[in-house]
């Protein structure tokens, strides 16, 4: 067994007895892009801050690059961090902000200026050296924060929702930039986000959390195609997986929940479907149209149709789906493995 680059072993942290995070166990390989995903308040930032050394865990062990850093200060962990608010020093210019850490570590001036130039070049900030953060746009500030993380030259970089203050268009562009940067520099990134699109499109490994507990760890494909719980099924994918109560379908137990993806459902003639529903909305996106459906014992039913499709809202339709496309969840919300499919481990 090869040793992982970063290991979190059964980490727990509570705030005055209230739950922060619990039982966080996670291995991160060198060069991996790991996304911590989950709704607001689920403990993503707390996990990241524990890893950064900005909080001390109540229990568990943190190992970075072979060293136990559980109680070590942030400075001793050899990592860089990009904050949600960017945390740029407002009284320092762009150049001084980027060089802040190098000055603290007494890097010689010549090397400092070289690295500064290099980082500003990569992030497209050349020419803005003397501006103060207050004189930059949101996107530029974000780039300064990235540049500051780059020059630190650490192997591990932590990012806490770095794109949440940017508009949608910029976000897509910076997403690509960060991914490219990670490839070029070969660094390991732990990336916190509440946006599943971001996590799915960028990460090698997604860690989905809820209420301070990890729900599932896996590649984006694994989370999409084999959600471990109904929560994962509903959180991952756009549109999310539809969940149908077992008693509405033949051949399933009453207390089971059946999940099915929008692209696995077909509209069929009356009398041939497995479920009769009502059309509630029609969302045309260019290449495809999503038809929202309603059924008394189902949640989030959506059918994906290619191209443009017209449906009358309120009209009745029937849908069908193949048995092998169904995801079955037990009464506790956990995935039930069908007997004929060999069991796949959650973590690769």
């Amino acid at each position: 067994m090869t040793r992982a680059f970063v290991t979190l072993d059964n980490i727990g942290k509570r705030w005055n007895g209230q739950l922060g995070v619990e039982g966080i166990t996670l291995d991160i390989e060198e060069g991996e892009f790991v996304a911590l995903l989950g709704p607001s308040g689920c403990g993503k930032s707390t996990t990241l801050r524990l890893l950064a050394g900005l909080e001390v865990p109540d229990e568990g062990q943190i190992i970075i690059d072979g060293t136990d850093v559980t109680g070590a200060s942030a400075a001793k962990r050899n990592l860089s961090m990009v904050f949600q608010s960017y945390a740029l020093f407002p009284h320092l210019s762009v150049a001084e902000n980027v060089m802040f850490g190098m000055k603290v570590r007494r890097v010689p001036k010549k090397e400092r200026l070289e690295k500064l130039h290099n980082a500003l070049d990569i992030t497209g900030l050349l020419g803005l050296e003397d501006r103060k953060p207050g004189e930059l746009s949101g996107g530029q500030r974000q780039r300064v924060a990235l540049a500051r993380a780059i020059v630190a030259g650490q192997k591990l970089c932590l990012m806490d929702e770095p794109l949440s203050n940017l508009d949608a268009k910029l976000r897509a562009a910076v997403r690509k930039d960060i991914k490219k940067l990670q490839n070029d520099l070969g660094i390991t990134i732990v990336y916190v986000t509440h946006d599943q699109t971001e996590a799915m499109s960028m990460a090698d490994k997604v860690v989905l959390m809820k209420d301070g507990v990890i729900q599932q760890t896996g590649t984006p494909e694994q989370l999409y195609s084999e959600p471990a719980t109904t929560f994962v099924a509903e959180f991952v994918g756009a549109p999310p997986m539809a969940l149908i109560e077992g008693r509405a379908l033949k051949g399933f137990k009453d207390d089971q929940t059946i999940g099915v993806r929008a692209e696995r459902m077909q509209l069929v003639q009356a009398g041939q479907g497995r479920l009769a529903c009502t059309v509630t909305d029609c969302e045309f996106l260019g290449a495809e149209t999503f038809i929202g459906l309603e059924h008394p014992s189902a949640n989030g039913l959506t059918v994906k149709l290619d191209g443009k499709a017209e449906m009358t809202i309120g009209s009745g339709v029937e849908i069908t789906f193949a048995d092998q496309d169904l995801h079955v969840f037990g009464p506790d919300g956990r995935r039930v493995q069908p007997e004929n499919i060999p069991t796949v481990l959650e973590e690769e």
């Binding site: 950064a52 942030a74 400075a75 961090m81 904050f83 608010s85 009284h91 603290v104 630190a152």
Partner: protein, 269 residues
Amino acid sequence: MSRFTKSFDTIGAVALAIVWIAPLVFAVWAAVHTTSDAVNFRLTSPWTLDNFRTAWDGAPWGKYFLNTFILVTIVLIGQFIVTTLAGYAFAQVQFPGKDFAFLLVLLQLFILPEVLIVENYAMVSRLGLFDSILGVGMPYMASAFGIFLMRQAFKSVPIELDEAARIEGCSRLGILLKVYVPLAKPTYLAYALVSVSTHWNNFLWPLIVTNSPDTRPLTVGLSIFGAPENGVDISIISAATVMSVAPLLIAFLIFQRQFVQAFLRAGIK
């Protein structure tokens, strides 16, 4: 109605301004006229600088100016050091008894310094600082007002900046000096103004604790110079007074804009 209140406001403001500035105007007026011209308000009478010459020759003003200057500088430096460290501790450091200690500091705000004069006198004597400039400045260095002000300023610094610096490997003192202090600059400026003008004009304590021209600040020197037994008249006293307050006034007029802005930015009004 609103026009009436508005003009009423304006009249009130002007009246207050006149009352406030009248003594200063009179001092300047008296300083540049002979005594009889001054007290009889002969508006067309000729101006003279004789009063200043007489006053300047009557006492070691150069020494007094230097003493006051050293005094306000020492006090300010001491206050900056103490209030910065204490303010930071109260704002960002966790330690047992912090709230109680801060309460004690706040209590100090309610006690007039004059009440403590006897105690301070005994303490300064015990420290062997009687009749020294350091002795005059010492009791004011741990200023409760300053500590409170700095605590507020440091508390308003976003915690991410502290954390970002920590991750970069900055020491605690480094973070204080490189992050907190620069960000509290407007507060330092506003506080410096209050401190310098207070200690430039402070009188009672220096009068008690100083004993010789070598340590005496301007205010004490001025009062001794103006004492009745010295037989100087109103014009000469006025000239000496104008001389004493001039540096402060000039500095304020020059830096007026920055001072007002500093006060606004520091959130003290």
